[in-house]
């Protein structure tokens, strides 16, 4: 089906009758194609009252901007909560049964890694340690929280190049590699800065990027041999065991085999299960995710309502004009098309400024929080999809009213 239907006068009307279709502010020729005709009428109708059009577009823009902001922050938060795990390459994680999220206070024994190896499904294992410690900035002696991350030798497990490089840097005694995205309140984390953890003087000699501001003011990497001393943790204990599965063994099979071999106070999850649990905890159990979802629903409602209101006022104000068009023999394609065209103009007129302002604000937000809130193609497409959906719903609700206009009522 093509939309290339001509606007033909009905049988009774002469062709000449269609031509003097004039509007109050000068004649407008109806273009030949229906799409062109619809857009032409839509533009003319909307631009008839510029101030109102601007107000309506501004309203749609505000709603879409609000939606964009919430959507980006939610998306960035989803990525951020699994960021440390994403820096590692592994298939299966072994955790204590009290594990809820990265900062669980419980540990497992390294023996669990040996037991996992004994199943025969495992290619390699890795011990990851995390603990909240205090670090005191020298010379200010200001103490803040620090997420201390203990590493095993990186072979094959560490994806992030700056963390891989950190391993060699950490060979020098009393050395830390600090998160470049640490909060300013932790103090300067540039190479050469000194901190005290557990009364031991340490110097920063390298940086990596993490930015888990919701856990602690700062984060640092350390080798696991040093971790046990700085965090007062038995060297045989680790926070999380990471496992790489031997090629040819299915993930589910390896997970079940390892779980069967380990005592019941350990949890065994695939990487995707672990990351899903991590996201679920932060975005469903914690209220921020719920709140952002509520705000997004409000933004959609508002955007839709404004388009709907403008369209319905338009239709109400122009009942006579639509009736005239009908009497002239215009088919439903034109009538619906004008409504859809107006909705599209309003939606687009709101979307473009929302994206423009949004890209600036989100960029600033990214700099301030190190959440990856920048605009990407996926979010722009989502926003465009939402706008089209809102415009379509509003059109569907309103154009039925035009349908009911009766040319006879003009007289």
């Amino acid at each position: 089906v093509t939309w290339n239907i001509r606007l033909e006068p009905s049988d009774g009307a002469k062709r000449g009758a269609a031509e003097p279709f004039t509007r109050t502010r000068g004649p407008t020729e109806l273009p030949k194609g229906v799409v062109g005709a619809c857009l032409g009428v839509a533009v003319a109708n909307l631009f008839d009252q510029r101030a109102r059009l601007l107000a309506a577009m501004a309203g749609v823009a505000v709603a879409l901007f609000m939606l964009l902001l919430q959507l980006s922050v939610l998306q960035a938060a989803r990525e951020k909560v699994t960021e440390l795990y994403d820096d590692f390459d592994f298939d299966i994680a072994i955790l204590p049964d009290s594990y809820q999220f990265l900062l669980s206070y419980d540990t497992i024994n390294r023996i669990a890694l040996d037991i996992a190896r004994a199943t025969g499904d495992v290619a390699d294992t890795y011990g990851l340690n995390v603990q909240m410690t205090h670090w005191k900035q020298i010379p200010s002696e200001r103490a803040t929280y620090n997420l201390l991350i203990g590493l095993d030798p990186p072979e094959g497990f560490v994806r992030d190049p700056s963390i891989r490089a950190a391993w060699d840097t950490l060979g020098v005694p009393h050395t830390l590699v600090a998160d470049r995205y640490s909060q300013p309140s932790a103090g300067p984390v540039s190479p050469g800065s000194t901190f005290e953890i557990n009364d031991e003087r340490l110097t920063i000699r390298g940086q990596f990027k993490l930015g888990l501001f919701f856990y602690a003011e700062g984060a640092t990497l350390i080798r696991n041999v040093d971790f046990s001393r700085l965090a007062n943790r038995d060297p045989s204990l680790i926070s999380v065991g990471l496992v790489k599965v031997r090629p040819g063994v299915s993930l589910a099979q390896a997970r079940d085999d390892i779980a069967k071999a380990l005592p019941s106070d350990t949890l065994v999850m695939t990487k995707s299960e672990l990351e899903a649990q991590e996201r679920g905890y932060f975005l469903s159990t914690k209220p921020i995710g719920v709140m952002i979802n509520i705000s997004m629903a409000i933004a959609c409602l508002v955007g839709g309502a404004i388009i709907l209101q403008v369209l319905s006022t338009e239709v109400a104000n122009r009942t006579k004009e639509y009736a005239v068009l009908k009497a002239m023999g215009a088919g439903p394609a034109l009538i619906y098309g004008v409504g859809a065209g107006q909705a599209a103009i309003l939606g687009l007129g709101g979307l473009l400024p929302a994206l423009a302002v949004g890209s600036v604000v989100l960029n600033l937000l990214q700099r301030a929080t190190h959440l990856a809130t920048g605009l990407d193609a996926a979010i722009v497409l989502t926003m465009a999809g939402v706008t089209v959906a809102l415009a379509a719903i509003a059109t569907a609700l309103v154009v039925r009213r035009i349908d009911q206009t009766d040319p006879a009522s003009l007289y």
Binding site: A56, A63, D97, S98, V290
Partner: protein
């Protein structure tokens, strides 16, 4: 002669169905402002809950505890020094620790916050003092915060729950509420906690002043007598400090602030749409009044009066809607999301502002009314 307010009101009341629709348009903006400000306030209130529930004059804490979600404890001898300061009537130690709470159904262990204090002292307002004291004095027992998030399962008095692997009985329910960081709380007596963890240090000391003692003098004496790593705050100061540090650390201010501004703008835009249509429909009447010699200023006052009526109607419709939404949000998030009187006043004012601005924009339509066009 009718006043502009009366005229404006009459014009609006002429079509009551439309008035309701108009009020709804403005109410949308009002509800958005309420919900967004409510969400932000709910987060901030929950984060500073510990300070708001303190029943005392001063909270004595480690200086390194720069917000209420830090774990820096005070040394017991420092609290003993505080207790000896003249003017201090009582000094109640409060302990706080994350512990593992085993769900009786699925046996999963989840992190919960444990508070401990002497049973009779009631440093935190968490329920009927007599019942709380009685429940805390029971042996091997704890009170469960019934406002905790539902992840812990359905907890009822009489159940036995493994807390850090050691069983304790639920002897009663308390009322506190979670925040963004923590999902729930339990309360035990100081004795029960010290018998489990003999080396535990208090997270704070709650000081009550003797009658007639001066807060500033006692506070200065506390800081003079302790060796420099102890600070004393009034509960209100601690709550304010918590609010500012929450706003500094997380981008929630921006997130919900933009939502509130969006609500305000939507109020202006909807108000303008509504008033514009209203003026357009009565253009003939306005033109007639102009022809009769009424000044533009008089006509403007009619429109501003309409704007005021609209904002009042929008607020009246929006407030109950916002309360319903807040109740639902509070139910889902277990955060204290509610309409504060000051917030309501602020949003009422914002609604009036939005409508006035909309009215000023719509006035230009009246200015364009031409008596000659009537004929």
């Amino acid at each position: 002669m009718a006043s502009p307010l009366e005229l404006g009101a009459r014009l609006l009341l002429h079509d009551k169905r439309r008035l309701i629709a108009m009020a709804l348009g403005v109410a949308v903006g009002v509800v958005i402002m309420f919900v967004q400000v409510g969400l932000l306030q709910g987060i901030l209130d929950s984060q500073s809950l510990e300070a708001k529930l303190v029943q005392g004059d001063l909270m004595v804490m480690n200086r390194a505890r720069i917000d209420l979600h830090h774990w820096d404890a005070v040394k017991p001898y420092e609290l003993a020094q505080v207790a000896a300061v003249p003017g201090v009537a009582s000094m109640i130690p409060v302990y706080k620790s994350p512990v593992g709470f085993e769900d009786p159904d699925d046996k999963r262990v989840r992190r919960i916050i444990l508070y401990a204090f002497p049973p009779d002292a009631q440093p935190l307002k968490i329920g009927d003092p007599k019942k709380v004291a009685q429940a805390l004095r029971a042996s091997n027992a704890f009170l469960f915060d019934e406002r905790s998030r539902p992840i812990f399962g359905v907890i009822k008095p009489g159940m036995s729950i493994a807390i850090d692997k050691g069983p304790l009985n639920v002897s009663g329910l308390a009322h506190m509420g979670p925040d963004i960081v923590n999902d729930g709380a339990i309360f035990v007596s100081e004795g029960a906690w010290l018998s489990r963890d003999p080396g535990a240090y208090p997270i704070m000391g709650v000081v009550r002043l003797a009658p007639g003692a001066s807060l500033t003098a006692v506070r200065a004496a506390i800081e003079a007598r302790t060796p420099g790593d102890v600070a004393a705050f009034t509960p209100a100061e601690a709550a304010r400090r918590e609010t500012s540090s929450t706003l500094r650390e997380a981008p929630i201010g921006l997130l919900f602030g933009v939502g509130a501004i969006a609500g305000l703008l939507i109020g202006v835009i909807n108000g303008y749409q509504v008033l514009y249509t209203e003026v357009s429909d009565h253009l003939a009447q306005y033109a007639t009044m102009k022809a009769m010699g009424f000044a533009d200023a008089f006509l403007h006052r009619i429109i501003l009066a309409q704007a005021a009526v609209l904002s009042a109607a929008g607020f009246a419709v929006g407030l109950p809607l916002a309360i319903v939404v807040d109740v639902l949000v509070a139910l889902f998030t277990r955060l204290p999301v509610e309409v504060h009187v000051m917030t309501a006043a602020g949003i009422g004012l914002a609604a009036l502002l939005a409508s006035t601005l909309a009215g000023r924009l719509a006035m230009r339509r009246v200015d364009a009314a031409d008596p000659a066009s009537l004929y």
